[in-house]
């Protein structure tokens, strides 16, 4: 049974707490983008994706997800653990020596839920397109999802992949772009202005839809459900998800400062106070 909105919001708060604890514990990692994509990944794994029990690499007869912007590993790990892929207690090993929870996600340590290493940016769309092509060859009607940072689109490989996906009608695929308008060195418009992402994806032959409230779980479910109805119609689907980096922690919002910085003890307590509901911290 799918969780209701209250349960989803509670889980979202818990994932936020996990993210904050993980990066605080090792004084490293990327909380900003993780917090901004928390609602999206909770909605994807808890509501939107058709997933099998357990994990196998081939993922036949289930939907697949690829995280291209691997630095937001904290939110990915928390959502995977709380969706049953591995014990929640293992979140405590994030970025530690001998952990399966490497700084950036990897298949190398055999962590269930991960199908591709990511971290070096710009590679996930090609991988997702390949997986989508294999689904077609296998007669598997399930979908492939991916998530990318907006700054990540500055990598040229994305545009090769975008050209391919429309030219060859990869229409069993939904690529979501986390449009938070920020990257390490500042606002994306200042670092390298990409102009209109909507116009660019459309010019590359994609069906584009926007989710203006990218941190509202009901808006995400509605938007992505609409996105699913647009698959199978000859075009790859792009969702522009407008989010707030650092969402849910007031002092981490409206700045790019928390892209890759961990909170100190005092900041952690302050952030927890703003995210008080817990389903049980790890």
């Amino acid at each position: 049974m799918k969780p209701n909105t209250q349960q989803l919001n509670d889980l979202t708060t818990q994932v936020r707490r996990d993210i904050l604890r993980m990066v605080h514990a090792v004084n490293s990692g990327h909380p900003g983008g993780s917090l901004g994509c928390t609602e999206f990944l909770v909605a994807l794994y808890q509501v939107l994706m058709d997933r099998k029990e357990g994990f196998d690499m081939d993922g036949i007869n289930e939907d697949l997800f690829f995280l291209s912007n691997g630095h937001i590993s904290p939110v990915f790990y928390s959502v995977l653990a709380r969706s049953g892929y591995f014990p929640v207690a293992e979140l405590a090993t994030f970025r530690l020596l001998n952990s399966r929870l490497q700084g950036h996600p990897t298949t190398h340590e055999g962590l269930p839920g991960i199908r591709m290493a990511s971290g070096s940016l710009g590679q996930g769309m090609s991988v997702a397109i390949g997986a989508a092509q294999t689904k077609k060859l296998n007669g598997d009607k399930h979908l492939v999802y991916s998530l990318h940072g907006d700054g990540e689109l500055q990598e040229g490989q994305n545009w090769e992949a975008m050209m391919y996906a429309s030219a060859y009608k990869v229409d069993n695929y939904i690529a979501t772009i986390d449009v938070n308008g920020k990257q390490i060195d500042g606002p994306t418009d200042e670092v390298l202005n990409m102009g209109s992402l909507k116009a660019k994806f459309e010019a590359f032959g994609w069906d584009v839809l926007e989710i203006k409230e990218g941190n509202n779980i009901e808006a995400i479910i509605a938007g992505m459900t609409e996105g699913k109805t647009r698959t199978g119609k000859g075009k790859p689907v792009c969702v522009l998800l407008y989010t707030e980096m650092g969402n849910g922690v007031d002092f981490m919002m409206n700045t790019h400062a928390w892209h890759g910085k961990a909170p100190n003890d005092e900041q952690l307590e302050k952030a927890f106070a703003q995210n008080a509901v817990t389903l049980g911290d790890y």
């Binding site: 990897t106 591709m116 090609s126 397109i129 390949g130 092509q133 294999t134 060859l137 490989q157 992949a161």
Partner: protein, 318 residues
């Protein structure tokens, strides 16, 4: 020494094409991707026979490697095809993260490797690809010597689980290994001719040159043992140590930069086990240039005469 018969010059890339054609018939999981070089890679037959399993990606090698990695998820065995330069140097990070680190069952098939690409010149003549690929953990690196062996290797790597770099070339060269490929086993050195005075270890197009050199050396009273190292990684260390244990010195020959190639891999094995004099027939840390393959192999000293000279030098160092 054992004699080999050239059954007629053929290009190794056509061996790849023939192997892929065979795989198309025998393994439905094999898929092929190409970056706008179908004719050069001899992939026409596979494309014609299995259009649904053939993916033309355009001039976009990074996307090709990423797609190939993704296609393994669900059980496909992707073979990518383009020139060696665009198969490695251009897409190193894609191979590193999406293929090697992610342990994906991708076969990176690279034609036009080395100087023998010829007239196109140094932009296309990669001499660093073996080094780039052998440094990646988990990557198997194979450089075949003739048509028959390239066909056999193409078929063999489909059965081998894990990332593979298969390197071959453009020019027509002597075809002399077993037609049925029975002498090709991944990771197993092929002892072509036994000898007692020097070991010549060659890979790729230099293997035939090594056999020619061994004949010339025999006439000069030097008995050369010739070994074909088609699999540069994992290296058949046992075969090398056994041979050098007998001969006491070695010449390595390859169409690659002296830095990072087969010769360095063998020097490491010898240094760790039984240090022995070694001479290198390889490109001396330079780029290539335009010219016919024969002119280039002559100018850069990658031929049987260069091997003979290296042998004469190394035997004196014993």
């Amino acid at each position: 020494m054992k004699k080999y018969t050239n059954t007629g010059n053929k290009d190794t890339r056509s061996g790849f094409g023939a192997g892929l054609t065979e795989l198309g018939k025998t393994n439905e999981n094999v898929v092929a991707l190409c970056a706008d070089l179908i004719g050069s890679l001899k992939m026409e037959d596979f494309k014609a026979n299995h259009p649904e399993r053939f993916f033309q990606v355009g001039i976009a090698e990074a996307n090709m490697i990423g797609m190939a990695a993704g296609m393994t998820i669900g059980g496909k065995i992707p073979f990518t095809g383009t020139f060696a330069n665009f198969s490695t140097g251009r897409v190193y990070d894609q191979i590193r993260q999406s293929v090697a680190y992610s342990d994906k069952n991708v076969k990176i098939c690279a034609s036009h490797a080395g100087l023998t690409l010829g007239e196109d010149g140094a932009t296309h003549q990669i001499l660093e690809d073996i080094g780039l690929m052998k440094m990646l953990p988990g990557m198997t690196v194979i450089n075949t010597c003739d048509y028959n062996q390239t066909k056999a290797a193409t078929i063999a790597i489909a059965k081998h689980h894990g990332p593979v770099y298969l390197r071959f070339g453009r020019p027509s060269v002597p075809n002399f290994t077993a037609e049925n490929g029975e002498d090709f086993v991944i990771g197993k050195a092929a002892l072509l001719s036994e000898g007692t005075d020097v070991t010549i270890v060659a890979t790729g197009h230099l293997v035939w040159e090594a056999l020619v050199a061994a004949e010339a050396l025999e006439a000069k009273g030097i008995s050369a043992e010739v070994i074909n190292i088609h699999t540069i990684k994992p290296l058949d260390e046992e075969a090398i140590l056994k041979s050098v244990g007998k001969t006491g010195c070695i010449v390595t020959a390859e169409e690659h930069n002296i830095l990072g190639g087969l010769g360095e891999s063998i020097a490491r094995v010898l240094a760790l086990n039984t240090p022995a004099p070694q001479e290198f027939v390889a490109v001396n840390d330079s780029f290539g240039e335009s010219g016919t393959p024969a002119q280039l192999m002559d100018k850069y000293k990658l031929n049987n005469q260069a091997i003979v000279e290296a042998v004469e030098k190394v035997v004196k160092r014993k």
